[in-house]
């Protein structure tokens, strides 16, 4: 495989979830259920008392489903259907992680969104002359929102901060590109 195709494979796989945790959890639950079913079957084979119900009793319980309390069965059924639906959606969705690809001509780079956020927060807070703790950045797939809390009694020059943030983002070369927005809180904070 050429380096380029290796890189595009890595970039795709590292920005999407393998769903391994969910798949392993489900497989484990099914294994536990099977182990229980086998245990009950063997207990009934050697004519020992069942843990909860023997296979015969389970079959009868299934036959009797229409005689159970309607409200409970409907609730159980709907909860089950919802869980099933959520699993199916989780299987079909692209499963994007909060990560971005960064341009480089030698290595394939994938950066966590929180790293982008903290770098933007640092530059924005320096430009706005506030403590880095008073700059909060939320990074989504296509946008970054910078929220600044000014020190009470001072103002922040939004255009200058905006320019710094835009310059930073342009310099990173992220894929997909981010559009930035700078918001300054109306209420300041003492000593911010």
């Amino acid at each position: 495989m050429s380096t380029q195709s290796v890189y595009s494979r890595i970039k795709h796989r590292e920005t999407t979830s393998p769903r391994a945790t969910l798949a392993i959890t489900l497989a484990f639950i099914i294994i536990v259920l099977i182990a229980y079913a086998v245990t009950e079957t063997i207990l009934s084979l050697v004519e020992q008392p069942p843990l909860l119900a023997n296979p015969e009793g389970m079959g009868t319980a299934l036959v009797n489903v229409p005689t159970y309390l309607a409200g409970v069965m409907i609730a159980v059924g709907i909860i089950g259907a919802m869980i099933g639906l959520i699993l199916m959606i989780a299987a079909v969705k692209p499963g994007r992680r909060a990560r971005h690809v960064l341009d480089s001509d030698r290595v394939a780079v994938v950066v966590d969104d929180e790293v982008i956020g903290s770098a933007l927060a640092r530059h924005a807070s320096y430009q706005g002359n506030i403590d880095p703790d008073n700059a909060r950045v939320s990074v989504t797939r296509r946008g970054a929102v910078v929220r600044l809390t000014p020190a009470s009694g001072t103002s922040i020059a939004v255009p200058a901060v905006n320019q710094v943030v835009t310059e930073q983002l342009d310099g990173y070369g992220l894929r997909p590109t981010l559009r930035s927005k700078v918001v300054v809180d109306e209420r300041g904070k003492v000593g911010a």
């Binding site: 380096t3 195709s5 290796v6 494979r9 890595i10 796989r13 590292e14 999407t16 393998p18 769903r19 391994a20 969910l22 798949a23 497989a27 484990f28 099914i30 099977i34 182990a35 086998v38 084979l45 004519e47 079959g59 299934l62 036959v63 489903v65 229409p66 069965m73 409907i74 159980v76 059924g77 709907i78 909860i79 089950g80 259907a81 919802m82 869980i83 099933g84 639906l85 699993l87 199916m88 959606i89 299987a91 960064l102 480089s104 030698r106 290595v107 394939a108 780079v109 994938v110 950066v111 966590d112 929180e114 790293v115 982008i116 903290s118 770098a119 927060a121 640092r122 310099g171 990173y172």
Partner: protein
Amino acid sequence: MTNTNRGLNRLFIFIVGLIVFILGIATASTHVIPAIRTGWEGTAPTVQQNIHEVHASAMLAPGVSWITIGVIAVLAILTILLVAFIVKQGHGRTSRLIRDDRTDHGVTVIDSTVAEEALRGVLNNRPELVSAHVSTFDVKGAPTLKVSVTALRGVSPKEITTTVESAVRALDALLGREIPTYLHISGGFRARTNSATRLQ
């Protein structure tokens, strides 16, 4: 980086979801839709009766049916498949970086630890990085280096990329060829140093 079969994971989750969904709908509908209720009441006892008869007709010993043995065997096979499915997740590491047999005199093999140690040695001394880990994976037959670094809070990812690029280029010069390299930058807010000093 791993060779986890993601399509299989998706398919597995979807099938389990579909089964749970159908069971849920079926349970609720026995109480919501009268036709299904009467259908169930009419059919289920007969089915149970038939299963009884099949069971009784395939007796191995008194009280032990071939059917029971078969069910246990099928469940055991299913368990083995599920365990294999779990164990197969997240593999793909390799310990060999380069194997060169172009010369007449022999084969050159370079272990991946050579590249890993070289990069680690450079990157762990960088002040803007909290930590750096290097490992080697086999990506579709191509040995590929994975460099995962944790950045200090506020460090620009571009700066880190430049640092790692130059380290990798130095390695290229050392090995005489370019090894595909993947860089993952994590950290940010979690990896903060001590609190800022105020000078005023």
